[in-house]
């Protein structure tokens, strides 16, 4: 059995604390009870005739709204399942100039001056040389100690590639990256071509 399968089955076992059949039964009971309460409330008013009369016009919308409200699950804010991205010590704006020696750089038209801003919210902002036409926004990074991970260019030149892992070091105005595990050659060359100078 693969690790992935074991993990998935483990997750599934731990997910629903209530047996699904019990949950369905519970929900049926709850739904019936709510319907019952709704009907009692309506009948307790002295406006039954109006309700019946108005049902043909406004009833469908009202009932749909009531039903929709009843069926909604509580809104759940997603729980972070990844480390908090960003690290204040790497935050800042850096530049580097890439030469045309590396074929991955030449092939992807990445030769020239690059600027990268690491935001404290885990977002990368990239400014590239003019000929580079790939998507530059919306990418993320994650810092954990000396480890750095990023999905930069995931939707373009690094399509279908997993995020790259690096060791990073900042010394004065200089930021350097050393490749640990990087499946995307263009990204590897970009980061490892430093040092990046803070601006």
């Amino acid at each position: 059995m693969s690790i992935d399968r074991r993990l998935r089955e483990g997750f599934e076992r731990s997910a629903p604390a209530i047996d699904p059949k019990d949950r369905v039964a519970l929900e049926r009971v709850t739904a019936r009870a709510r319907r019952h309460v709704m009907v009692r409330r309506v009948t307790s008013t002295v406006m039954v005739a109006l309700v019946l009369g108005g049902a043909a016009l406004g009833g469908p919308r009202i009932l749909d709204a009531l039903r929709e409200d009843r069926q909604l699950e509580p809104v759940q804010e997603p729980t972070p399942s990844a480390p908090i991205p960003g690290d204040a010590t790497i935050a800042g704006t850096y530049t580097a100039t890439l030469g045309n020696e590396d074929p991955a750089i030449r092939g992807n038209q990445m030769v020239g001056k690059w600027t990268i801003t690491f935001r404290s919210n885990g977002v990368l902002e990239v400014s590239s040389p003019e000929p580079f036409e790939e998507s530059r926004s919306g990418y993320s990074f994650e810092v954990s100690g000396s480890q750095f991970r990023t999905d930069l260019f995931r939707t373009d030149v690094c399509n279908d590639k997993l995020p790259g892992r690096y060791r990073w070091q900042r010394s004065g105005n200089r930021l350097t990256f050393e490749v640990v595990d990087e499946p995307c050659p263009a990204r590897a060359t970009l980061f490892a071509s430093g040092p990046w100078q803070i601006t």
Binding site: S14, V48, Q76
Partner: protein, 516 residues
């Protein structure tokens, strides 16, 4: 007594009104879809860097059977990095019919649109349970690679493998007809309701647009705006669209190649392709694949055979793959001389059985494909509405077109993938006034621009943006489409304004890597 009678009367009124108004996704009162968070699968965890979570939506397999089986649909939630963001989220469904969500590629959407993003593996695909993969058909990859496109025997083997997959899934209790567009769209609506979302926007990448379009048709009141990259539309079944799209892509290629130096190398692209397919039909050629995906899987080299039909499939696939488009003129010119170039070999030696040329090429590179879902959507939602005489007319007597599209093996597969026809409305155009932005690639033979424009004409506020130089999936290639989408998304009621980046885009043909 009288009170009880009133109660009964009110109950009856409520029941009548209930049956009139429906429940949004149409589920019976006895069952309520539910969304439960789970720890993310490891393959998701390793790809997604922003804050995120995962969960399963449990829904009825067939909503017409309220006491029937339930299935689980996987959903990834990605939070935007911006602490303050609009309340309305965006729902994205990534990939082509039968494919799982493109998890890593969908992740930046949250940051780019400043919204919580929900990414779904449609029912039957990816992490959703059950998954309708067909390993019986996958086992034919080497057989198809080593056969000619015109080989009837291998088509029969394909149909037999499809039948075996059908029989296995149905014996396991899977209701294969339930993995159609209508039910998948209802899953999207059930997710919205389960999460308590009042209004959201929708986005699709590829042919899963069919699902979003059905959401627009059935549940429009909760949709703020929609963007679609390289979409298919319900009014045009894929077997017809394949011919139209291939012709369109080739005309675009010929026009683009009309400039020097491309014209000098290959004066008439379409004529050269006709020469190439005729030559290869008369004299099929072979090459040995030692390290392609198929050879690696079976553990030995194989002789890949190529005839005119195979070449036409490669050409259609290449028109959809942006990185292959610059190599196409030289690929066609070489084939007219009986040579199969490296890019063509790359497609052929890695191609799952009957994938390239039929399904968008990007989906042909991965093993994670649910052929069962593809077949149900094709056989149930499309083929019943296929105009077979129009299809026959469109082949124009071309032998390679006849082999690939006239004798389309998926038409035979649908005779054994036994699913009833969908409601005829599923073959009708979608109308409405939801703001829609449609992206197409200039050469894309899977989502040709004229088809998108015609579909957009049925929608009151739809805009089509063609990205020059590109094939299928334009939002995954280059910043231009992404930046247009992002700017439009804030004011979707207006046409996209910031389209100046289109002016600098074009295809740059090269023979590098193409000529041998």
């Amino acid at each position: 007594m009288q009170g009880k009678s009133w109660l009964g009367g009110l109950g009856a009124v409520a029941l009548i009104l209930s049956s009139c108004t429906g429940t949004g996704s149409g589920e019976d009162e006895a069952f309520r879809p539910r969304f439960v968070e789970v720890a993310c699968p490891s393959d998701v965890e390793i790809q997604v860097l922003p804050k995120h979570s995962c969960g399963y939506l449990t829904v009825l397999e067939d909503r017409a059977k309220p006491e029937g089986r339930t299935i689980r649909v996987f959903v990834l939630t990605v939070l935007p990095p911006q602490e303050e963001h609009p309340e309305d989220p965006v729902f994205t469904i990534g990939g082509n019919i039968g494919e799982a969500a493109e998890i890593g590629g969908s992740t930046p959407v949250a940051a780019r649109l400043h919204r919580v993003a929900y990414v779904m593996d449609p029912r039957g695909t990816g992490h959703s349970h059950p998954k309708l993969a067909c390993p019986e058909v996958d086992a034919l990859d080497d057989e198809v690679a080593t056969s000619l496109a015109s080989d009837d025997d291998v088509r029969e083997e394909f149909a037999a493998a499809v039948k075996a997959c059908h029989d296995r899934l149905t014996s396991q209790g899977v209701d294969i007809a339930a993995y159609d567009v209508e039910q998948a769209a209802a899953d999207v609506e059930d997710l919205r309701r389960s999460l308590g979302i009042q209004t959201w926007s929708l986005g699709s990448l590829g042919t899963q647009s069919r699902i979003l379009l059905e959401v627009m048709r059935s549940f429009p009141e909760h949709v703020r705006a929609v963007y679609m990259d390289s979409p298919e539309f319900p009014q045009l079944p894929d077997p017809e669209a394949a011919v139209i799209g291939t012709h369109w892509g080739l005309v675009q290629l010929a026009d683009a190649c009309a400039s020097v130096p491309c014209r000098r190398a290959i004066p008439h692209v379409t004529r050269a392709l006709s020469r190439a397919t005729s030559r290869l039909n008369a004299q099929p050629t072979t090459f040995v694949s030692k390290d392609g995906a198929i050879a690696s899987r079976i553990g030995r080299s194989l002789k890949v055979r190529v005839d005119g039909g195979k070449l036409l499939r490669v050409v259609r696939s290449s028109l959809g793959l942006t990185q292959f488009i610059p190599l196409l003129p030289s690929m066609i010119a070489a084939a007219a001389e009986g040579k199969i170039t490296a890019p063509a070999r790359e497609i052929l030696e890695n191609d799952p059985a009957f994938c390239s040329g039929y399904r968008p090429g990007e989906g042909c590179s991965g093993p994670d494909f649910s052929l069962g879902v593809y077949l149900t959507v094709l056989c149930r939602d499309q083929l019943p509405f296929l105009d077979r005489s129009a299809l026959a007319d469109s082949l124009r007597g071309d032998a390679a077109y006849q082999t690939v599209f006239g004798s389309n093996p998926y038409l035979d597969a649908c005779t054994v993938w036994d699913v009833p026809a969908a409601d005829p409305v599923m073959g009708e155009p979608v109308t409405g006034d939801i703001p829609v932005l449609i992206f197409t690639g200039q050469f894309d033979p899977h989502s040709p621009t004229p088809v998108a424009e015609e579909a957009a004409n049925k929608l009151a506020r739809a805009y089509v943006v063609e990205i020059p130089g590109q094939g299928h999936n334009v939002l995954g290639t280059g910043d231009c489409g992404v930046s247009i989408r992002n700017a439009w998304f804030d004011h979707p009621e207006s046409p996209p304004e910031t389209t100046s980046c289109l002016d600098s885009l074009s295809v740059r043909f090269t023979s590098k890597g193409g000529m041998e």
